[in-house]
Symmetry: D2
Subunit: 345 residues, 4 copies
């Protein structure tokens, strides 16, 4: 961290300020130029609050050179993290570290028949995980809010029947006791900075699929991952799902550059959600291919057995047959990236 | 709501589709032009999910004419809502309906001495409410996270000592049991779409100060208010606190137009947070004046007895003397707007 | 300017790099810490290209401490610039330096009758300048494109008749020869970074009204002003006209903070365009008041004698009577700011 | 186009309004529901100004069903446009319609030696076109502004020597007379809505490479293409070059979805600029692959023989050897898309 001191600041005060910084556990190096004094902070600056320093009347500018995250930082963990999740019959699904996973299923669990039907179908097409929302964040209180605990039960039944591990969203801490048999807990975009939730998930051992916030930066996503990891849970899967831009043709804008950016900065696996990114089912295959060649470690795709009748997100859901053809189309691209398909077998 | 039907759609299917809409409790009016069929939906369309309709293969475009919120909508409640909060000695603070309130205090409660000192000082300057964070949403897990339950205790002590009602942020449902003596519960920008929290707050009777999300629209803020109100709690105070834009000079960008926009669309009071909007203490007075003349019903201002040593947000906090001079400066503008200052006396 | 050097860079190469910087006319101060070498550049760093430095393999980060603009910078010109424009009968309109001006007129000049009618009317209400577009930037080639040179003629006729100096937009250098009798040349938001145009306007002596680009920052606006000023033309009026955000209720979002921000960074006058900012005529008065109390040096307001029939921007234009009442409403706010109304008398 | 009429509007006025619309050459269909009157406009609505209609006091909402562009619209030109440019020795470079082109070269032409050296090198690696800036839009007037007319001369010399057709940017109409031997004229992002320039380019027969504006939508880019095409020049190549978002890790954000979006809406070829999109040379290959599999018809890539010494954009330029390896890496992806490499042979 570099702190540029305001011109004309009394040397004595600057030294006192530097001393107060050293008390926070970093070393401070002075550079006193003719017209500019610069302090260089060395050591564990992640715990220094840059914003708080800005309030000091001696400070002209504070610049972080090192990233403010540690556990999520590739500098301190050069090897890719590979997250392993038990699948049926002793198998294992792996995310990251050279393995490619596809998480598929409906936006919302709507009925027993619907979720079992889709689960069988995405399994047959080669999905690694079943997704499905039981608790649904909807912008209108008058929209379908998900089946809640009953939805979770149905997901677990589908898991039992197909052997597919399940991924489903938690909306609030108060739901956590229901997630005991869930394999991967999803944190939605709107909760990316729900720090109370992140901290608590840091204490549970389960893998967390952390979605990027609607207007969050790569750095902010990694800081949210750091919250979970700081609590001791290193099993975080990052998810790029499109960001808010001025473009209205698509629901959001897939930030394909976030894939290499996240992977360079962090060792955590990165999956992509082409369904929410575009909001248009016809664009899912194109964006999936782009995500694979950009290095994604997996995809999370909405599949519905009757998109036109879906209670939510029908416009962006694939039919089972479109999903089958997507899986076929991706095969060669995944191989070209030198990745192995991981679906628990 | 207007639904444009795709050209060439079979008339029979369109009629079946219209019937399915009528089953949702609205009337459907047909307009069959030479080349364009348009359905006009009349009735309570707030409960119709426009996105879900878009997935239908017959639909070209869905356009809402009516707003999707009802309880927050001025059309159905033409008069301003005035929220009344008990103050000490039988007094009452009112927000909205011609009354102007100032909520002041530190970003974080840091110590007994600090909060009591600031509380006395803002009271003396004429503040209506004391604010202070006990639970703090911080982007880094290594930054100061607030004093938690102890912070709440200190706030309540300050309330007791000064008689100022208190406003403080809830970060998660699990904290709600601690908020029994809090006067106004604040929902932070990052929680604006924490729908589980909003629903539960809809069941508690307390006034809610709902902050606009970092990249949320006026319409989305009103939908979040609708969540609280749909649960039966009509005491919602809307808060414009700056939105994320490309400008980096200020921390956020105060959307001054949101004040008249919200007031035209809704009957709920609107307060402005110039401290978070700018992130610069020297700009707080200017933005406060702008907010008052634009029609704001109140302000929420960060005040710290030692901004340079503040554990958070020092850069944007006013000193007690700067706050006193702000209150003096605003007086005539508030009067020119025909509003009465409400501070519990 | 501060340059953080990558860890492990060979000292010899760093010295060679520092020497190459000194050849560009700045002094370089070294700070060699245990783990971080920092170069501090002192002198006229405005001409150092920070981006180009970033490409050097020794460089970790480049941070500007000084602003990259000089002529527009208040540091080097502490006093407000006041721009003087001749008005009829030997009068003078002043913009900035304690004077407040209102520029009013239609979006487009549509006919002789229209522009003369509006000119008389805004003059009677106290406007300082007449505005009107002859060359119109329209997003569709099929929309009305302005009357062009004929429109300019009509504006000049209105100037002659009313004595109001005129402000009108140039869209391209090729039109400049027609602007000989125009008093203030407007550069539209879409041309804020038309650097060829800015350079040429730097060579003409006329005052330039420079509008902020749709997603430009305060710093970028000042860099564009610097282009004009670097050519020798110091008569630049900055114009905040709303920026693009995710909000859709208003056409753009008025960045009211840009007024104090620009005035702190620069000595140039700042005017505000509430008509384009909101795109809603009913909001113009509210935003105008906010702009005045935030310190604006003037306003540019769309007025049309028949807004419903306007060939462009009817939705945001005031009728002549609404303009009259706006001028009355603003009077006391302008006085409270200690400014004098300047309208050439 | 659909116009929702405000409730309670007098039927007589609505009929008069409808008649005024019919005079503009469209048919108007009435739908009078119990509580909502809707007008459906049929015919060539591209020439109807939706914004102007909004100003009418009878109008609640105006919704375009048809796109406001015609010549750029795939609906009216179902087949892909393929643009043919003469290359040396009677060869031809084709852009679009199943052909893939790579445009490569430095950001700025800096010297005879530099441009000839790079031209030879990119030709050897298989580039279809040479790019190089003679007129450079720079945010600071103190940055290198390009060699101007001399730079163009050097480009033409490089064209003569290598046979590569050239692509270079025009910044202003006044430069057009110098572009007689340029093969493709580039319009930069900052000029995407320089309508005067676009109109004039519509009158010259040369292919235009039109870059998307920094915060422009897909629809706005197509409207700008329409400006060129409305003048009679159908040879427009669209270019996605990254949009402004809140992400700071990359210079801009590549909107990979814009490729399928533009291709679905329009028949014009779409090329991608991964260099400006990311601003990071190490990311160029990854984004190029993503662009190819998303369906791009070509790439425009910055290559410099000494990126560290480049006078502009060094940080994002590839070295000649990195470009060679990029071309090798892309080969199989282009083939998998069923496209032919077009480089004039």
């Amino acid at each position: 961290m570099i702190i540029a001191i305001k011109q004309g600041s009394p040397a004595k005060e600057v030294r006192r300020f530097a001393k107060s910084l050293e008390e926070k556990g970093v070393q401070v190096h002075f550079s006193e130029g003719a017209s500019q004094t610069v302090l260089g902070l060395v050591g564990d600056t992640a715990e220094i609050d840059a914003e708080a320093l800005n309030a000091n009347h001696l400070v002209e500018k504070v610049v972080r050179v090192q990233e403010p995250y540690k556990r999520a930082n590739r500098k301190f963990h050069p090897d890719d993290t590979c997250i392993r999740i038990c699948a049926s019959a002793g198998g294992e699904c792996r995310v990251g570290g050279g393995f490619f996973s596809v998480i598929a299923g409906p936006c919302s669990v709507e009925s027993r028949e619907q979720i079992l039907d889709i689960a069988e179908s995405v399994k047959a097409s080669g999905a690694s995980f079943l997704r499905g929302g039981a608790f649904k964040p909807r912008t209108s209180p008058y929209s379908f809010q998900g089946l809640g605990a009953d939805g979770l039960e149905l997901l677990l039944e589908a898991k039992k029947q197909t052997g597919l591990p399940i991924v489903t969203e938690i909306m609030d801490l108060s739901q956590l006791h229901l997630f005991g048999d869930v394999d991967v807990i999803q944190v939605g975009a709107r909760n990316m900075q729900n720090f109370t939730l992140l901290k608590e998930l840091g204490r549970c051992g389960k893998p967390i699929l952390l979605k990027r916030g609607l207007s969050a930066t790569v750095n902010e996503l990694l800081m949210s991952a750091e919250y979970v990891m700081a609590g001791g849970n290193e099993n975080v899967i990052l998810c790029e799902r499109g960001i808010r831009t001025f473009e209205t043709y698509t629901r959001n804008t897939l930030d394909v550059s976030a894939i290499p950016a996240l992977q360079r900065q962090s060792h955590l696996p990165v999956v992509v959600d082409p369904s929410h990114a575009a909001g248009l089912s016809w664009m899912v295959e194109t964006l999936s291919k782009a995500a694979v060649v950009a290095g994604a470690d997996g995809l999370i795709v909405e599949v519905h057995n009757n998109p036109e009748k879906a209670l939510s997100d029908g416009e962006q859901s694939l039919s089972p047959s479109a999903f089958t053809s997507l899986m076929r189309a991706l095969k060669k691209y995944i191989e070209m990236e030198g990745k192995s398909f991981s679906n628990g077998k």
